[in-house]
Symmetry: C2
């Protein structure tokens, strides 16, 4: 038996990582997702909490593609792999 | 009386512009809004058509801010002016 270090984001304590960089990436993703959720819920008040959550996570996970789409090429969004 | 040139996007024929560049910008904005609407509706199927529309327009109108947020700084979203 031994003791080992694991890492987690305080935003999602259930998810443990062996690698600190991966935990950092997860934390950043969740941070962006939360900000998006808040902004989109203010802009479109009819969104449910669940919808805001899903939108934020989806976009934050696909951050690079959305960055491209907003920068100059909407077509970048065609690269997205869709759930289901 | 005289005849004059006006411009419009075929995506929104009601809206006329005196300036071609402005009409172009409007068309680009609507194109991005439509693409976003489609992508977000696929990702979050519970969204209504109306919600998808509003999300797409809101984000497309604030394209530069979202570009920054997705590129590297989520804080850019704090600059957004909210409707209402």
């Amino acid at each position: 038996m031994a003791v080992e270090v694991v890492y987690r984001s305080t935003r999602d304590p259930e998810q443990l990582f062996m690698d600190k960089a991966e935990a950092d990436r997860h934390d950043k993703m969740l941070e962006l997702a939360e900000t998006l959720r808040d902004v989109l819920q203010k802009a479109v008040p009819s969104l449910s909490e669940q919808q805001g959550e899903e939108l934020g996570i989806f976009m934050a996970k696909n951050r690079a593609v959305f960055a491209k789409a907003f920068k100059n090429q909407a077509e970048a969004l065609n690269e997205l792999e869709m759930p289901g």
